[in-house]
Symmetry: C2
Subunit: 350 residues, 2 copies
């Protein structure tokens, strides 16, 4: 069976005050479409995976919010992390948990706060990758065709000579590259074998559990030791006791960069990690003055190239701004130049 893992524990601090630790980005209707980013993530896997095989891994603080937003998903499938330990422990936990239920299952892992524009193409790619991972012991990543020399993403270098025979759209990975500097990124986009790492992974249960066993024996020990409590009343207590022992490490470092059978499925379905206000502006509808106005009750005068994102439907008037972010949520307010958005963490520190 196909299982979907949605990682929904992020804090979304770059989108303050729209996103706050109380209500981070993945739970917000960032695009103004009536569904939160996590709900949109769930929606785009419809038909690929049944609700009882959808798993959400999140912070203990957000379990209620996840349940509220995804009532279709069984409460027992919402896995609660007692502390933050990056993506490797998160993926290890849910992988062993799924193994306890369905040791022959296939898994797709996705962040909860990204955006995909072309759902049909997305589903075609995911289905292809799921089938491939189900028939092999491959770890499959999705590679997004870069449209600009982005320095905020990691890159995947494909070996175009090593095409899979089972699925001719899938290639072996030559190497993973960390977030590059601008010159390097400019070099990457000149070639047709560098792709953005979208953080979406496809594998079967045995493959990922074996990878943890081989490359992360400490993590394997922790989660394998709990095999007999998964799905029982003791699961949460055991997790609460042992999760803190996990190393704080990303799955990229822990597994992907070490494993042998790593593949990339280059794809182009209009993807964004919505990591910056600028990327949000790119994806939003814009008015004639290139303003992204998220709310129906915003009036602008002599205002251009702004993102105005305010909660509810209260009256907002903006006059005389060019290239600013205006964000309001729960009484908190941010006004800053789009060009300074990297400083938002600094700005919002209490």
């Amino acid at each position: 069976m196909n299982h979907l893992v949605i990682m929904a524990g992020g804090l979304g601090s770059r989108f303050w005050p729209m996103s706050t630790p109380d209500n981070p980005k993945q739970f917000i209707d960032v695009l103004g479409v009536g569904r939160s980013l996590m709900q949109l993530t769930y929606d785009r896997f419809k038909g690929i995976c049944d609700p009882e095989n959808v798993w959400i891994v999140t912070s203990a603080d957000y379990v209620a919010k996840v349940h509220e937003q995804l009532p279709e998903v069984p409460v027992g499938n919402i896995l609660s992390e007692p502390c933050r330990r990056n993506t490797a422990p998160c993926i290890a936990y849910v992988s062993y948990r799924i193994k306890a239920k369905d040791p022959k299952g296939n898994i797709v892992v996705t962040p909860s706060d990204h955006v995909v524009v072309n759902i049909q193409e997305f589903q075609r790619v995911i289905n292809g990758a799921m089938q491939f991972a189900g028939e092999t012991d491959a770890i499959v990543t999705l590679g997004m065709k870069p449209t600009r020399p982005e320095t905020g993403y990691g890159y995947i270098q494909a070996d175009l000579a090593a095409q899979s025979m089972r699925n001719k759209e899938i290639y072996q990975v030559e190497s993973f590259r960390e977030k590059p500097d601008l010159a390097t990124a400019e070099e990457y986009v000149k070639h047709n074998y560098y792709y953005w790492n979208a953080g979406i992974f496809i594998w079967n249960v045995s493959t990922i559990v074996n990878a943890f066993r081989m490359y992360q024996p400490a993590l394997n020990r922790i989660f394998e030791s709990m095999m007999d409590v998964y799905g029982t009343d003791q699961e949460q207590a055991a997790i609460n006791e042992h999760y803190g022992e996990c190393e704080n490490i990303s799955v990229d470092y822990a597994i992907l960069e070490k494993a042998e059978e790593i593949f990339v499925f280059p794809a182009d379905f209009g993807w964004s990690d919505l990591g910056t206000w600028g990327s949000l502006q790119t994806l939003s509808k814009k008015d004639a003055n290139n303003n992204s106005l998220i709310s129906d009750n915003i009036k602008t005068f002599e205002t251009t190239n702004c993102i105005i994102n305010v909660e509810g439907n209260k009256q907002v008037v903006v006059q005389g701004l060019d290239g600013y972010i205006v964000a309001q949520r729960d009484g908190r307010l941010l006004i800053c130049k789009l060009s300074e958005e990297q400083r938002i963490k600094e700005f919002s520190a209490e």
Copy 2:
């Protein structure tokens, strides 16, 4: 006895969204001192007038708010206007109402939403004017020494040769001048006998009632016909029935510009009508970058010459603005250049 009349029916539309028809300027702690402008107005007459002789004339919609903010004032002293009819009907109503209680009383009439900095000097001036008006049949206005060629105020031209013998600080009025154009205002401030009309009037009950009788016979007829219901259960019903018949006219046109015995008491106690955001900025505390920050939880970066007025104590971050108004209340938000504040009514039209 001394009576204080506070006119508190204004809409404060120039201060949107800090001030809205639901909660206009006079009821707001505009200066961030813990008291609304109306409460500050009441406070600065302490010692001049007892609470049972304080009268508030306001819109029916605001009666509860007035009572909540000034619980010391008897509820029966809050006079409710069923519709808006400018200052002459408002003053006529309260004057006849006071006459029914205390026909020999003295009255000072004041707007509810102005600011006075030097309370001690203010009280000295008011006491002098009250005594003068009590002993004569004079209508006394206060004239503010102009500090700039303001085009937003009416001016009072004093006849410096016609000094009163009873109070040598008081002069006869030569003429009232409407809001001038800039060239005229610049001419006015060159002379020492033009003063801003602060809208504060002092007279005794007989004087003002006689003035209505003489100059506004229609208004006189309406309010004199109700003499036997003032202070009774029938007062509000009678007012509701007849108030709408009143002409919509200011006391300046209706009485001041027509009457004979008009005096001006030139004074200098740090007055502002707070008619503009700019005047609010002038009066507020400012940080090292000339920003007026009304709230303790505002952080600014590269921001100068701004007024930032937000409700509550929620976190606000402003980066990269120079010379802007940022105002937030009840979810409504205004961002506009200070130089464009005349357009706020246009901006805020729903």
